[in-house]
């Protein structure tokens, strides 16, 4: 049966037969889905993530920077907490310093009763406000500690004043602190 059907066929050229392939066409529904998928994939390429080695490096560098910043802050706070204690020890071991002119000037308004050893040490390391945006005029003592100032020990404050006034971050409200 099949052979008889084939025999009855009028034959065509190869080119004509191949052109028949052009009739294999997707419908409109296919193209709607195609466009949707393509747009989605193109959007993904536009917001494509970095390759994994770059992501790992970025993560590591972020954590490293964070760790360094925390360590630096801890070191500064540690120094600020420890230094007065050491200085207090050195002061008590050298009572002659209590008579120095600097200490006298800082305690000019203190009464005679207040001049015990403990008060001397406290006065020497009195917390002083250093304002980033001001020069020597900023050496004011204010009761509250805003975001635009930091605390330093007032011991030898003349040595700190240059750093405070000439710091490169003055406009941003951040003071540099150098020991």
């Amino acid at each position: 049966m099949a052979n008889s059907t084939k025999d009855s066929r009028e034959k065509v050229s190869l080119e004509a037969l191949l052109r028949f392939k052009r009739s294999e066409r997707p419908d409109q529904e296919f193209w709607k889905e195609f466009d949707g998928e393509l747009h989605q994939r193109m959007m993904q390429t536009l917001v494509k993530k970095d390759p994994w080695p770059v992501q790992v490096l970025r993560g590591l560098s972020g954590k490293l920077a964070q760790t360094t910043a925390i360590a630096a802050a801890a070191a500064v706070l540690g120094l600020m907490a420890i230094r007065p204690a050491f200085e207090g020890l050195s002061e008590s071991s050298r009572p002659a310093l209590a008579d120095s002119s600097m200490e006298k000037s800082s305690l000019v308004e203190a009464t005679e009763e207040d001049l015990d050893e403990n008060l001397m040490a406290e006065a020497d390391y009195e917390i002083e406000m250093v304002f980033a945006s001001a020069g020597n005029d900023a050496e004011l003592v204010t009761p509250d500690y805003g975001l635009d100032h930091i605390e330093v020990a007032s011991y030898d404050r003349d040595a700190y004043s240059a750093d405070m006034a000439l710091g490169g971050f003055t406009s941003t409200g951040v003071a540099s602190l150098v020991y």
Partner: protein
């Protein structure tokens, strides 16, 4: 013969396409390069059917063809900044499609998953079907399915290189010079491959051929 990339071109290659078609594409490409990402959609709408047709005929699988056609446009989109207009956008994107499909076929190796595309309803009343069958409607429907299977089988028996040349020339209607540019070969090689491929197809499809 046909100038590819015609504005009026759908799945059938246009005859006597306007000379400015390449310039029109280049203008759209420049828009995309200037940051108008949406303009790329014009190129997608213009060439998607042609690209799909080539890829589908090379793979005989509509899902793979859909995926590879999308991949072709994504690659073109990603590389469009480097397109300098020395060749036409048409041949450039065809080349991307052919290379992408060739790479896919190498990976797919010997495994073959057939998933045929729908046959256009008009095919039943086409000249070829009319000539190959009697007027019986049910016989026509059977023949259309049979033809689809036989043609796809025959094409898949060819090597990917020979298949590409046959598809581009006989189905897409491209010139030898254009095929040479797309496949990165000489026109002589294109003619040679075409001749050999047609000989092979003649033997595979002899039941239907003169």
């Amino acid at each position: 013969m046909a100038t590819p990339g015609s504005v009026t071109k759908s799945i059938f290659p246009a005859q006597d396409a306007p000379v400015s078609d390449r310039d029109l594409d280049w203008a759209v490409v420049q828009k995309v390069q200037a940051g108008n990402v949406g303009a790329f959609d014009q190129l997608v709408q213009k060439y998607r059917e042609q690209i799909f047709s080539v890829v589908y005929n090379m793979t005989s699988n509509r899902e793979d063809a859909s995926d590879l056609t999308q991949e072709t446009f994504i690659k073109a989109f990603q590389a469009i900044g480097r397109f300098r207009g020395k060749s036409s956008f048409f041949t450039w994107i065809y080349r991307i499609a052919v290379n992408t499909t060739m790479t896919f076929l190498k990976k797919r190796n010997r495994r073959r998953y057939i998933s045929y595309e729908n046959i256009d309803e008009e095919a039943s009343s086409s000249e070829i079907v009319e000539r190959l069958t009697a007027s019986n409607r049910s016989e026509k429907g059977a023949l259309v399915s049979e033809l689809q299977e036989k043609l796809n089988d025959a094409l898949q028996k060819l090597s990917p290189k020979h298949r590409t040349v046959v598809i581009l020339h006989e189905i897409e209607g491209l010139e030898h010079a254009e095929i040479a540019e797309i496949t990165g070969t000489s026109q002589g090689t294109v003619r040679s491959r075409l001749h050999y491929a047609k000989q092979q197809l003649q033997s595979y499809l002899q039941d239907y051929l003169v």
